[in-house]
């Protein structure tokens, strides 16, 4: 009897609080309780196999993810693909020439008093990005350059609230780079006609 009295709290604990007790759990309660790593039913996204990707930099509170590699899709990169002279020599040679190099690049990002080419590109070569503090940044990680000013967008992008996820919802997570959607030289996206006319619910 004495033993039973001593172990009854244990019996109560084991029978009363087992997961089998099936109490009603709210949707948000169920979501909040799910903190363990999830295997997602063994499903995976095929994006990483079919697209050129690089692991993104670390962001606090965000699981590691992949970002679509920019250099694999950039057509005019690096400079040596077309030019055989270094940038400095090109500038010296073209002094006095009226012809504008890379005339198709129209700069409409922010006022000229704030930015110039060398705000994002390295001064000595356009084929390298730099932070404002002249730290080199590869094109594949251009989000680090954009995020210097657009910090809110960078945090949202890293977490998944901004930008486009590629392939499926299942891991691994692959996302577009900033420059995949926004032209860095004129980042605003132009107006256009919708794919379909809107309509009232017909049914």
């Amino acid at each position: 009897m004495g033993t039973l009295r001593r172990i009854w709290p244990l019996i109560f604990l084991l029978t009363g609080c087992t997961p089998g007790s099936q109490e009603e759990v709210s949707l948000l309660g169920r979501v909040e309780r799910a903190t363990e790593k999830n295997a997602n039913g063994g499903l995976t996204s095929r994006a990483a196999e079919s697209m050129p990707t690089v692991p993104a930099a670390e962001f606090p509170g965000v699981a590691p993810f992949l970002v679509l590699a920019r250099t694999a899709v950039m057509e005019k990169f690096p400079c040596e693909k077309c030019h055989n002279e270094p940038l400095a020599q090109l500038i010296t040679r073209s002094k006095g020439e009226k012809k504008k190099a890379h005339w198709n690049i129209e700069f409409d990002h922010v006022s000229d008093s704030v930015m110039r080419c060398a705000t994002c590109h390295a001064e000595r070569t356009m084929a390298q990005l730099e932070t404002i503090n002249h730290q080199p940044v590869p094109f594949d990680h251009s989000y680090q350059v954009c995020g210097q000013c657009h910090s809110r967008q960078l945090a949202d992008w890293a977490g998944g609230a901004h930008g486009k996820r590629l392939d499926g919802w299942a891991p691994p997570r692959v996302v577009e780079n900033c420059a995949g959607c926004h032209d860095p030289h004129r980042p605003a996206i132009a107006k256009r006609w919708p794919a379909r006319a809107g309509r009232q619910s017909p049914h």
Partner: protein, 324 residues
């Protein structure tokens, strides 16, 4: 199979679940009544020695389809048999090979959706992709998704423009999409007299089109106008039919049944994103597993200020809106 025997089988299968007894009787009556009228015609073809072999096979398949169980009562073998029958019927009718999946809900997955009101620009690419993916009726221009053009400064669907067709985004306006929210506590499911609609373990609210009797109670019960009805036989140009289908998703429907967004069950149960998410050019649509703490949807819920429509009804939609 003998309809009476089938009935016994159904009631036996249902015995394991608490089911309202009137539903059983109603199901019984509907089967018996329909069997008498429709079954006779089918049987005539099936047993007619003069009909061609193809006609006889089609009649047999139709006959079997007519008496098939409700999907959620089927064993895995019966599900396989059912989708194979559908594939065979499609082959016989059109000569095309369709793939109808009966993939079950993945383990430990609960699908959720988030919509960025700041980023949606009203391009309507999602609507186009949804119609194409889900084999929706082109004649009545059926759409699961609606994009509402709202005036900045108010969140009123009464004054929203659903029929915009001009360059977007229009100055002084923002855009908000609605579709089935896959409520965790779905009122549409409670009212269905034939239990033809239910919530799957992964949270997707589905319809068994073979068991829907077209009473449209669910449409009346849905507070979000998410369900659509086939007033006529859906028309889809044969070349545009999406052949990658799921029994509970985009398989071809008939006249007189209700349908709705299924989070593209044929895609999402294979790890892909719904067609609307994939088509959205602005990344305003976010989809994922609510039970995975590393998913994008969980980051949005944890880090953005989110809201749901008509939250006070207690329907618990698994569809959140947020702003940048």
């Amino acid at each position: 199979m003998d309809p009476v025997q089938k009935l016994i089988q159904i009631s036996e299968a249902q015995a394991g679940r608490p089911v309202d007894s009137t539903v059983d009787r109603r199901a019984a009556l509907s089967i018996l009544g329909a069997a008498l009228s429709a079954g006779l015609g089918l049987m005539q073809t099936a047993c007619n020695p003069l009909a061609s072999a193809a006609d006889r096979e089609k009649a047999r398949l139709d006959w079997e389809a007519f008496f098939q169980k409700n999907y959620w009562l089927m064993s895995n073998a019966e599900k396989t048999e059912t989708v194979e029958r559908l594939e065979r019927l499609h082959q016989a009718q059109t000569g095309k090979t369709v793939r109808v999946s009966s993939a079950a809900a993945p383990q430990n997955v609960l699908y959720g959706y988030a919509f960025n009101v700041s980023t949606c620009r009203g391009y309507m690419d999602c609507v186009r992709a949804c119609v194409a993916e889900n084999n929706q009726d082109r004649r009545s221009d059926m759409r699961y998704i609606r994009i509402h053009e709202l005036k900045k400064g108010q969140l009123s669907f009464e004054s929203a423009n659903d029929e915009f067709f001009h360059e977007v985004p229009a100055a002084g306006h923002f855009y908000m999409g609605t579709q089935c929210f896959h409520c965790q506590n779905p009122p549409c499911v409670d009212v269905c007299p034939t239990q033809a609609t239910w919530m799957e373990p992964d949270g997707i609210v589905v319809v068994d089109y073979n068991w829907c009797i077209g009473c449209r109670y669910c449409m009346a019960a849905c507070p979000y106008d998410a369900r659509r009805f086939n007033w006529a036989d859906p028309v889809i140009p044969e070349a545009d039919v999406n052949l990658n289908q799921h029994y509970l998703g985009n398989r071809l429907r008939k006249k007189g049944v209700v349908e709705k967004c299924t989070f593209c069950i044929q895609r999402t149960r294979a790890g892909a994103n719904p067609a609307c998410v994939e088509a959205c050019p602005t990344g305003a649509r976010i989809f994922g597993n609510l039970l995975d703490p590393d998913s994008e949807i969980r980051w949005v819920l944890g880090n953005k200020n989110v809201f749901r429509l008509k939250e006070d009804l207690g329907t618990e939609p698994k569809f959140w809106y947020f702003m940048d």
